[in-house]
């Protein structure tokens, strides 16, 4: 199981802020395969996580990319570009 978090406009577009996800069931091994699995769920997910959209991904609270490996126990977060300060 991994934990997936969504923030800000992504959280609103998807209607979810946190979920548990079973990597093994979906053969998820990295960020790219996780995104593929998530995008297959619905039009909303497909749209929100499209490669052309300007989202960011973090694995275990560090900025990651589509090649970053994912293993059970990891925390993966998707969010728009940050706007603090």
């Amino acid at each position: 199981m991994i934990t997936i978090l969504f923030f800000a406009s992504l959280r609103e577009a998807l209607g979810v802020n946190r979920e548990q996800f079973d990597c093994k069931l979906s053969s998820v091994t990295d960020v790219a395969s996780l995104i593929e699995a998530l995008r297959g769920r619905s039009a909303a997910f497909s749209e929100a996580l499209a490669p052309t959209r300007n989202w960011r991904v973090a694995v275990n609270q560090e900025i990651a990319n589509t090649n970053t490996p994912i293993a059970s126990g990891d925390e993966v977060a998707f969010f728009p570009p940050v706007t603090g300060g």
């Binding site: 978090l5 800000a8 609270q61 560090e62 977060a77 969010f79 728009p80 940050v82 706007t83 603090g84």
Partner: protein, 159 residues
């Protein structure tokens, strides 16, 4: 160059306002080696891109926020000889003219204090996971990231 271990670091994410005098006192207590303190306060501007902002809601990623800010401060401490750094960022609902963020940097010398304070703000803007949602007369919307904030990082690559 001092390392992060020798720099007194205080990072706080808070729903309540900060007190600049109180933060300065905490930083200065018991020491007479500080020559310069540069501070930055970011505020909610009422006018933003033509719309009138009545309030703003700040969301963040608990855990990653603190980790990111600590990393930014650690990097700054590697670049400049710093004595103490405080970063306080508010979250939740804020009104026009409210404080958003406070950065305090103490050093023996003013140039290090100025440079490190601006460095921390520049990277906070682009790397720390905060998101602003503004309420204006045109409704509620998420603030877009600004290209100028990413461009501001360029100068730190030249050193």
């Amino acid at each position: 160059m001092t390392s992060i271990l020798e720099t007194a670091v205080r990072i706080e994410i808070s729903e309540t306002d900060f007190d600049v005098n109180a933060e300065l006192s905490k930083m200065r207590v018991g020491r007479a080696d500080i020559g310069a303190i540069c501070s930055f306060i970011g505020l909610v501007r009422e006018a933003n891109l033509g719309s009138r902002v009545s309030s703003m809601t700040l969301e963040h990623y608990p855990g990653m926020t603190e980790k990111t800010l600590r990393n930014i401060v650690a990097e700054a401490s590697q670049r400049w000889p710093l004595q103490a750094v405080t970063v306080i960022h508010r979250v939740g609902k804020l009104l026009a003219a409210d404080n958003i963020v406070l950065v305090l940097v103490a050093s023996a010398h003013r140039q290090a204090a100025f440079a490190a304070c601006e460095y921390v703000m520049d990277f906070l803007k682009t790397d720390a996971p905060f998101w602003k949602q503004e309420s204006t007369e045109n409704g509620v919307h998420w603030v877009d990231a600004r290209v100028s904030d990413t461009a501001a990082l360029q100068r730190w690559n030249q050193n």
